[in-house]
């Protein structure tokens, strides 16, 4: 389960929101290319966990290493890590004042200083990957939710990240659009990119994940292969959770 050279390493990481202890003694090693699904009830700290990896949240105790760099207050190190960590949000968070193409070229042009033409070529390549090239000139709010989320995935991929973080990527979508987004993520999963995905799509977890992590009350309750996790959960709390979300 753990590997010799993890790309992400949590060592006794703790975090509080005010007095609320949101992450408790987190220890986690993610191997390069590993695909991990994180699930758990709301408020269990799963979003906070992955948001620590690109420092949208700061951990207060413990050590957190991403791609060989320890996360600290060093702004330069953080921006370097953010370049190699892509993130997809529940609410898409596309920039509404920019066209789809401009959304995709913004970071390559300003962060990586790639010339406009090359950035646009790269962007079109990613749009092809998520099958949405024909919308390049439109503004995000003119697209459907599923299309917006696919654009958001393409935007994150434009910096050719080593790690992709998905924070409930399908929770804000209409049921009929969930699959078009999951298909894109599944395709990505075959490319060897390291992925951490917070989701309650258990079918997706079963077919894509190398490892499933269950969190509750800010701690990792159980981590296992999908087969073991779904068929033979060790912890009673996991069993209880699974029975609730799989029964309907």
């Amino acid at each position: 389960m753990s590997s010799e050279n993890p790309i992400i390493e949590f060592n006794d990481v703790n975090k509080w929101f005010g007095d609320f202890h949101v992450l408790r003694d987190i220890n986690l090693r993610v191997a390069k290319g590993e695909r991990i699904v994180i699930c758990g009830p709301s408020g269990s700290g799963k979003s906070t966990l992955i948001r620590c990896i690109n420092r949208l949240e700061e951990h207060q105790q413990g050590r957190l290493l991403v791609d060989g760099t320890e996360l600290s207050d060093d702004i330069k190190a953080i921006n370097a890590i953010r370049k190699s960590v892509g993130m997809v949000f529940q609410q898409f968070n596309l920039f509404p004042h920019l066209t789809v193409l401009e959304n995709l070229t913004l970071a390559p042009m300003w962060v990586s200083q790639i010339p406009k033409k090359e950035a646009e070529e790269r962007a079109m390549q990613q749009l092809r990957r998520v099958q949405i090239t024909e919308q390049a000139g439109k503004y995000p709010l003119q697209l459907s939710g599923g299309q917006q989320q696919r654009v958001a995935i393409a935007r994150a991929l434009c910096l050719t990240p080593k790690i992709m973080l998905f924070d409930e990527p399908t929770s804000a979508l209409d049921p009929e659009m969930i699959n078009e987004v999951l298909d894109v993520i599944k395709e990505l999963a075959t490319q060897g990119i390291t992925m951490l995905c917070v989701t309650h799509e258990m079918g997706f977890a079963r077919s894509v994940a190398d490892r499933v992590i269950f969190m509750d009350h800010g701690q990792i309750v159980e981590e296992n292969t999908p087969d073991e996790f779904f068929n033979n959960p060790k912890n009673e709390r996991t069993r209880d959770f699974l029975s609730k979300i799989l029964s309907h």
């Binding site: 690109n54 949208l56 702004i75 921006n79 370097a80 953010r82 370049k83 960590v85 892509g86 993130m87 949000f89 609410q91 968070n93 596309l94 920039f95 509404p96 004042h97 066209t99 913004l106 970071a107 300003w110 962060v111 439109k138 503004y139 995000p140 709010l141 003119q142 935007r155 994150a156 910096l159």
Partner: protein
């Protein structure tokens, strides 16, 4: 189980029912539907019938248009004396600027208004526009001040009328706007020192009337300066107005910053954009377009507030009117003079307000669901 499932067949789309066109149906629908509307319409028509004829008779029918003082006096009480404008328009427009040199403020104003008009057009929002402004401002001051290229020098105390109004409004807004953005960002800074400084600035300046600011800038500032050093009164007033307007604008901009969803900043951060890149490319373009109406409100206010510089003996448009009415022969007809100056202000303010509506719609392309 049934053997044959129903096949879903969508109903073909049809054209919407045509609205009944024409003037009469419109009038009935909008002015005479229901008792309250009928009553309101009739009342307003009655008011118009009472007000319009006397206004028409006073302003046009019995009015004197030539600069004929005797005719004006004869027509008093039943006709307007537009003669006061005909007689004094040069004084109203250019104040105490030397009479035979008044082509200079005229050209200077035309340049300034031209630059403003060019700045309103979005495809011109490029780097060269800044160069254009630098050039226009330089030309403006060379023309007004003189003492160069064979132009007679004219001291700033004699500048007045419309050029003064336009220059004060334009320059103070041009400097106040970027300053306001910095102050608004500073109020949200995580650095306590900068935050406190910005809060103090806004609260102190907002808590004082503009008249006091101008008065202090004009009379008290020199007391604190070392002996012998003088700053031009115009410059002092300009600094006072800029600082005053920037405090108000900063609060407007802050409103826009706060309305921006946090996810936008997080998305920019997750892409590795730094603070200034995020601010310039993601935060400000969205925050500023949210506050276009409130910004224009402040702009219009600042434009009219330039009239307060009369208290420190600068003769802007309203001040120049007072100069013109100093003539005992024409003093009686102050009302017509005031109407004329009010009309000039109105033209500019109305243009600003229409532009605000236009640019708001223009900037929102794509950011609203159609």
């Amino acid at each position: 189980m049934s053997s044959q499932p129903f096949v879903f067949e969508p109903i073909a789309s049809r054209a919407p029912p045509r609205p009944v066109g024409g003037l009469l149906p419109w009038v009935r629908r909008n002015l005479f539907d229901g008792w309250t509307n009928i009553l309101t319409t009739l009342l307003l028509l009655l008011l118009l019938a009472l007000a319009l004829p006397p206004m028409f008779q006073w302003g046009l029918m019995h009015a004197v248009f030539g600069a004929d003082n005797a005719a004006c006096r004869a027509a008093e009480h039943h006709g307007a004396c537009w003669g006061v404008v005909a007689e004094k328009y040069r004084l109203i427009f250019f104040g105490r600027y030397p009479y035979e040199q008044q082509w200079r403020p005229m050209v200077a104003c035309a340049l300034m208004v031209g630059a403003i008009a060019a700045s309103c057009y979005r495809p011109f929002w490029r780097a060269w526009l800044l160069g254009l402004w630098a050039l226009v401002l330089a030309l403006f001051f060379v023309l007004m001040k003189g003492g160069l290229v064979g132009l007679v020098a004219v001291e700033t105390a004699r500048w007045g009328g419309f050029p003064l109004t336009v220059m004060l409004a334009t320059l103070s807004l041009l400097i106040a706007f970027p300053l306001a953005i910095l102050v608004a960002l500073g109020r949200q800074s995580h650095m306590a020192g900068i935050r406190t400084l910005c809060v103090l600035y806004v609260e102190l300046v907002r808590g004082v009337p503009l008249i006091s600011v101008l008065f202090m800038a004009s009379f008290m500032l020199p007391l604190f300066m070392p002996q012998g050093s003088t700053i031009d009164v115009l410059l002092r007033v300009l600094i006072g107005m800029t600082l005053f307007t920037a405090a108000y604008l900063a609060e407007v901009v802050r409103g826009g910053l706060q309305a921006l969803p946090k996810g936008q900043i997080e998305a920019a951060q997750s892409l590795g954009l730094g603070y200034w890149q995020t601010t310039r490319k993601v935060v400000l373009p969205q925050a500023l377009r949210l506050v276009v109406p409130a910004t224009m409100n402040t702009f219009i206010g600042a434009f009219k507030d330039t009239s307060l510089v009369t208290i420190v003996s600068l003769y802007d448009l309203t001040g120049a009117l007072q100069l013109a009415l100093g003539d005992a022969d024409w003093r009686k007809f102050f009302f017509e003079g005031q109407l004329f100056v009010a009309a000039i202000y109105f033209v500019f303010c109305y243009a600003m307000s229409r532009y605000s509506l236009w640019i708001e719609r223009h900037l929102n392309t794509g950011t609203r669901r159609e």
